[in-house]
């Protein structure tokens, strides 16, 4: 038996849905049509969703919060979130704004990702500023280019559109905070599920802004840090390392178990903490570090053990004229 046949056997006994169940799905799928047509822009950006998968898993704590440095890879020190974020705002605010790329230029991004138990994986992305072409390279593999049709009705914003969205955001931190809390564009839960608490959404959306690839206008960048400083439960640890081994400022969000029951295990202990890491001097975005505090349990067995951290690191970013390897 070859690998494809074997694969076709895997989960082959998953059944088709019952007629009754399909009727319910059908009603949902077709009923929402009218509403969506009336309000056509209830949606988000693909890049955002990718980031939200990570950021959405941000561990949140309060009571039952473990100390910051339970593993050998992390020797951190908790510092004043307000002081650090205000300082970060001052620093980035003085930067000169980046020139906007031309539509036919490409945004280049190189990052390394370390999955729990896996080896480091280097990925390079080129996205043309107008969003119509993308290129991607894994490790030492070939550059694969593809044509891309952005769909504003389905989570896609081109870099150019994302830049326009960022440019339109308020740079007053309180107004920015109010806007991201209320922004229906960035819902993490499907409709019909309980809505994300406003602060949780605010932290997640602001994290997405920091992670995305379009250069942030300095005033907005500063406002993002100041807005984060206003969210109760934001913690900042010094000495958090990214996947490249660089130590930086780690920002995490822990509103307490009442606000996020799924972030805690059956004994009320925090499962994981998800840091955004900033350069301690320039406050540039370095990467992420998700610390697995508790075993992840599937069916009573450990699927991802405590200590199996997820890390990423931004290795390079820039504007280039074509998707090619930098020399």
């Amino acid at each position: 038996m070859d690998d494809l046949e074997l694969l076709r056997e895997l989960r082959a006994d998953v059944p088709a849905p019952s007629a009754e169940r399909l009727r319910v799905v059908r009603a949902r799928a077709l009923r929402r049509r009218a509403r969506l047509r009336a309000v056509p822009f209830l949606l988000t950006a693909a890049t955002v969703t990718v980031a939200a998968v990570l950021v959405g898993a941000v561990a949140m704590t309060g009571a039952g919060s473990p100390p910051a440095g339970p593993t050998a890879t992390l020797r951190t020190k908790t510092v004043s979130a307000q002081a650090v974020l205000q300082q970060a705002a001052w620093v980035v605010q003085r930067r000169r704004p980046a020139a906007a790329p031309r539509p036919e230029q490409w945004i280049y991004r190189k990052r390394v990702v370390r999955q729990p138990g896996g080896s480091d994986k280097v990925e390079e992305y080129w996205t043309r500023y107008d969003g119509l072409r993308q290129a991607h390279r894994q490790g030492q593999g070939p550059i694969e280019t593809r044509t891309y049709t952005p769909d504003p009705a389905d989570d896609d914003l081109t870099p150019q559109e994302f830049a326009a969205k960022l440019a339109a955001l308020p740079t007053d931190p309180r107004k920015l905070l109010a806007q991201v809390k209320a922004d229906p564009l960035w819902a993490a839960e499907p409709e019909g599920r309980p809505a994300e608490p406003a602060d949780v959404r605010a932290f997640r959306v602001l994290s997405v802004y920091l992670d995305q690839e379009v250069p942030l206008p300095p005033e907005l960048h500063a406002a993002i840090f100041r807005a984060m400083a206003e969210i109760p439960g934001v913690r900042v640890d010094a000495g958090v390392r990214d996947a490249a081994g660089r130590a930086g400022i780690g920002i995490a969000y822990e509103p307490g178990p009442a606000a996020c029951p799924r972030c805690y295990n059956g004994r009320g202990l925090l499962i994981e903490r998800s840091y955004i890491i900033l350069d301690p001097t320039t406050y540039a975005y370095l990467g992420r570090h998700v610390v697995q505090f508790q075993d992840y349990i599937v069916d009573g067995e450990v699927a991802v053990p405590r200590g199996a951290d997820y890390l990423s690191a931004e290795l390079a970013r820039g504007i280039v004229d074509r998707p090619a390897l930098p020399r």
């Binding site: 070859d2 690998d3 494809l4 074997l6 694969l7 076709r8 056997e9 895997l10 989960r11 006994d13 998953v14 059944p15 088709a16 849905p17 169940r21 399909l22 319910v24 799905v25 059908r26 949902r28 799928a29 077709l30 929402r32 049509r33 969506l36 056509p40 693909a46 969703t49 990718v50 998968v53 898993a57 999955q115 896996g118 991607h136 894994q138 694969e144 593809r146 044509t147 891309y148 049709t149 769909d151 009705a153 389905d154 989570d155 499907p190 992840y296 599937v298 069916d299 067995e301 450990v302 699927a303 991802v304």
Partner: protein, 196 residues
């Protein structure tokens, strides 16, 4: 399911552009198989959401449908692929759990009896381990072919990538799964070339 008298998908879509109620025919034709495919990848609990969202997104994009393609399956599976991708961690965790401890939360998610645990063969555990570490792009192509029974050409349309890229991703994915299964099988390579 489609008889000679029924309109094909392109005609359904053409009608739905003028009369939105015609769109439901597309759901009735494809939702069940799509639901099973999604459940196979993400487990029972997410399938309803993903299928409903797929058809909602499809409806919003009706105007862009190229009606020279009579069969809408590649288009729908391409939309579903984006939505499935949002649950990547869930998907990968299940493969990891299957490979490490031999129980499959996806296979179990649709069984009523809690005690009906599915104990996987060692080959399936190795296969799941390989699925967990494939790149999302390679995994997408592999599972569209193995589980959704799409052809190379259909996968190419579904994902908006050239057929050559479909082939190279599939080739890479199969090489990795074969490695995980303990060595390569030359006959499988030949078969793959013949499928093209």
């Amino acid at each position: 399911m489609i008889t000679d008298n029924e309109p094909d998908d392109a005609e359904v879509i053409d009608r739905a552009l003028r009369d939105p109620s015609a769109f439901s025919a597309l759901f009735d034709r494809h939702a069940s198989a799509l639901h099973r495919y999604v459940a196979r990848r993400l487990g029972d609990s997410l399938a309803d959401d993903v299928v409903a969202e797929t058809f909602m997104a499809a409806f919003r994009r009706l105007k862009r449908y190229d009606t020279t393609h009579r069969d809408a399956r590649p288009w729908l599976y391409g939309i579903a692929a984006n939505l499935i991708g949002k649950h990547r961690r869930t998907e990968v965790r299940a493969y990891l759990a299957l490979s490490r401890i031999g129980t499959d939360e996806v296979a179990e998610s649709h069984t009523d009896r809690v005690e009906a645990r599915v104990s996987a063969s060692s080959a399936h555990r190795e296969l799941a381990g390989a699925l967990a570490v494939l790149s999302p792009e390679d995994r997408e192509v592999l599972l569209m072919i193995a589980w959704a029974d799409l052809s190379y050409e259909e996968v190419s349309r579904a994902l908006g990538i050239p057929i050559g890229t479909v082939r190279s991703r599939l080739h890479r994915a199969r090489r990795k799964t074969r490695e995980a299964l303990g060595g390569s099988d030359p006959s499988a390579v030949e078969e793959e070339a013949a499928r093209g």
